[in-house]
Subunit: 148 residues, 2 copies
């Protein structure tokens, strides 16, 4: 189970932050570590409720804020929709969002990252963080009606 390690890591972060490991938190951490996508608060909530009927959406939001605060997760605010989260990845990456399906594809480019820093430096700034999102449409490949 690749998720087990991720879960342990998340719990460790909370434990070291000196906050209590409660039942709702445990459930949310598990969900987060199993998700491979970029769920929003409601999606996490829906899955949590299936485990514990009594969990509240407020707690999901509070827990996401807590985890973001501790650097355990990242929050993304893609075009329009609500905040979406992902377990903080070991290596930085940016996102390409399929405008037709909503699919999120991850990518990383050292060259772009370097250029960004260069640009900021030229302007007299150092980057604290950045946001790079590509919104695109699948290219129709001549052969076969591959385009949905």
């Amino acid at each position: 189970m690749v998720a087990k390690a991720a879960l342990d890591e998340l719990e460790k972060i909370l434990r070291e932050a000196g906050v209590r490991i409660t039942r709702p938190r445990r459930i949310i951490l598990r969900i987060l570590s199993e998700y491979d996508d970029h769920p929003d608060a409601r999606a996490i909530f829906r899955r949590a409720v299936r485990v514990d009927e009594s969990i509240s959406l407020s707690t999901v939001y509070r827990t996401m804020n807590l985890l973001e605060d501790k650097g355990a997760i990242h929050r993304h605010s893609f075009q329009g929709g609500p905040s979406r989260f992902e377990h903080a990845p070991q290596n930085h990456h940016d996102h390409l969002i399929d405008v037709d399906t909503g699919n999120v594809i991850e990518f990383a480019s050292d060259r772009i990252e370097k250029l960004q820093e260069e640009i900021a430096r030229d302007l007299g700034y150092e980057i604290v963080h950045h946001r790079l999102e590509l919104y695109g449409r699948k290219i129709k490949t001549g052969k076969g009606a591959k385009g949905r």
Copy 2:
């Protein structure tokens, strides 16, 4: 007045879109063409009210949607805050936001734009639009207490 040309251009866009040139719209267009910054709806509203007491915030929002729709303005959703707008620039650019002051600095990089398209293409996508925002802090320059 550099703004006059901008105003005429905005009015022309509306006229050609076949919508009525109303009093509130004229006021908002003028404000938009004079702004050099990236105002949000309330900021535009505040200035509009000074010209015509009876203008409503709803109309500002509706007008911004209309103009965005016609491609006359661009909407930006920077970190946290409300949508901010700018008269659609002739040449594309991205933004660097000063995390301390909130200042917005514009920049353009052909190399980054090219790399983005390359990346998308490699993933089988063509870019519809993108969002690149750098959030940074002014670099303290050894001499003089320039960094505030």
